[in-house]
Amino acid sequence: MAEARSVGLPPTQSRWAFRLIALVYLAFLLIIPVGLIFWRTFENGIGPVWDALTSPDSVHAFQVTLIVAGTAVVLNTAFGLIASLLIVRHEFRGKSIFNKLIDLPLAVSPVVVGLALILVYGRNTSIGTWLGAHGINVIFALPGMIIATCFVSLPLVVRELVPVLEEVGDEQEQAAATLGASPFQIFRRITLPAIRWGLAYGVVLTLARSLGEFGAVAVVSGRIVGQTQTATLLVEQSFENFDTGKAYSVAFALAAVAILALLLMTFLRPRSDR
């Protein structure tokens, strides 16, 4: 949107003052700390960083992170598509509660999520023991971490798709119905293409959030190195063990992915707002 030199624009003095305040605040809160991490990471060159990232526990941690985050993204995307279509295109009893429940994870502390899952799926609960008898361990194993990650990133696809679906409107879908398309054909040929940028944005957001989950998996995973330790948990462990080099390196890798996700989102946002 073009910068309108509106009458509301303050005279040069206050404009500079605002600019300065904003920049200083952002510099000391955001820019310098992030820049410093990059600097510190490569203080001793790329070699140590590469070694840290390719060490066995790092590789395992990245694998665990990818499996957990990837599964959560798939599940939440499926849920997100179904839920947002239900919310925007249908009426049903309890819809507003349904809506609010989806937003709930945004306000819940991740350690509470971990606690909740332990209370439901832990070894000494009814569900836990039943599942355990069938060979499925939830707590201190990947399934629990996946559920935890699903919890924290649940709303993201839905909240992205709902405004897009409302914006697109359902007239195209009605037209397709009169032309003979079945509900599934309508979804595949009309709805999905119309929302693809918003969907992509939501998926990237979900992926970033899932990759970065820490508190919930800290509780639920048992931190078993090589099995249930995610990259984020590895960062904390390395730091506690005074292995700052590894902590910074893994943190850098995660930050790089986050920035990549950010760039993707910036690229996708104008298209999804079309």
Binding site: A175, A176, T178, G180, A194
Partner: protein
């Protein structure tokens, strides 16, 4: 295909959109659903298409009960006011959509789509995206798309409402010619009575969810069932508690039997007709220019205006011509429509 809607009622919450509506659409006809906004016409159209389930009532297509049939299975073409173009597909793919759904062979599709694009004069735009088309072109594309699957019934929901006046007139004529050529039973919704009178064989006048009258344009204009239909279908003015067409009033310069005195407030020359605003109530007061609001008007030819030397302040005597259509003025509780300015 003929269509019958019987005793259809539809509510949205506490709002009654359709109130026990019964309409018969003969096969091959071109019918207009005419009425003011919010009157239920679009809702009725959507019930016919299966896009809206009625609360009560029956919809029959060619004698078969289709009330619960989904839109996919009714073989009814639908054209939306805002085109509902598939924005991410080319014009060609838009028109081909229904045929692709039915898994027709590729060359059959190509033949049919080309034929239709030629029919709507969009052959040159086959590979364009809808965003590159003007409104009128998009609507023609939407028509081609609906016709591609050879519907037995074609429904259009204010199809020209989003277009400007010139394009609207062109497409109106074009729709009429299309119907004469293809004889598909067609129903369209409009709030413009001129459009309805110009295009349709039959008009269904609807207001507040009820059918006011069904008939040919002439029947509705010359023999309106009530004051609402009379005022919606054409201009009206009132005189002595009666509604009458402004061009059905005789203007005399001397008192006459059955004539009411009135003072001319304003004379406006509109093309070859002249509109004369009258103040009836204050005519009995003093002579001279009137500052009152005009409460009636007459439409006369220029000759008449010149002959009678009509100027503001002049007193004339007005009465309905012999045999003119008149109707008692409705009381305040009855609705009277403001005719759409054409």
């Amino acid at each position: 295909m003929g269509m019958n809607a019987r005793n259809v009622t539809k509510r949205f919450g506490s709002f009654v959109a359709l109130d026990d509506v019964t309409v018969e659409i003969p096969s091959g006809s071109l019918t207009a659903l005419l009425g003011p906004s919010g009157g239920g016409k679009s809702t009725l159209l959507r019930v016919m298409a299966g896009l809206e389930p009625p609360d009560t009532g029956v919809v029959e297509l060619d004698g078969t009960d289709a009330t619960t049939l989904p839109p996919q299975r009714r073989n009814v073409g639908f054209v939306f006011q805002h085109y509902a173009a598939f924005k991410h597909m080319t014009v060609y793919r838009n028109v081909a959509f229904g045929l692709e759904i039915r898994k027709r062979p590729k060359d059959e599709i190509r033949r049919r789509v080309t034929e239709l694009l030629e029919l709507v004069h969009l052959e040159a735009f086959a590979d364009r995206m809808p965003a590159q088309l003007s409104g009128g072109q998009r609507q023609r594309m939407a028509l081609a798309r609906a016709l591609a699957v050879e519907p037995r019934l074609l429904l259009l929901d204010e199809p020209f409402g989003a277009l400007d006046a010139q394009v609207r007139k062109e497409l109106r004529n074009w729709l009429r010619r299309l119907h004469d050529q293809m004889h598909v039973t067609t129903v369209f919704v409009t709030h413009d009575q001129e459009e309805a009178m110009d295009v349709a064989d039959r008009i269904v006048v609807m207001a507040s969810g009820r059918v006011e009258q069904i008939g040919t344009p002439d029947e509705l204009y010359d023999r309106p069932a009530n004051a609402f239909v009379m005022s919606f279908l054409g201009p009206v003015t009132h005189l002595d508690g009666l509604l009458v067409r402004p061009h059905d009033l005789e203007v005399l310069d001397a008192p006459a039997d059955g004539a009411t005195a009135a003072r001319v407030v304003r004379v406006a020359r509109l093309g070859f007709e002249v509109r004369v605003d009258l103040d009836v109530a204050g005519a009995r007061a003093s002579a001279g220019p009137s500052t009152a609001e005009p409460d009636a008007y007459v439409q006369v030819t220029r000759d008449t205006a010149t002959r009678l030397a009509l100027e503001p302040g002049v007193t004339v005597h007005v009465r309905p011509t012999r045999g003119a259509l008149t109707m008692p003025e409705p009381t305040e509780t009855e609705e009277i429509a403001t005719p759409v300015a054409s």
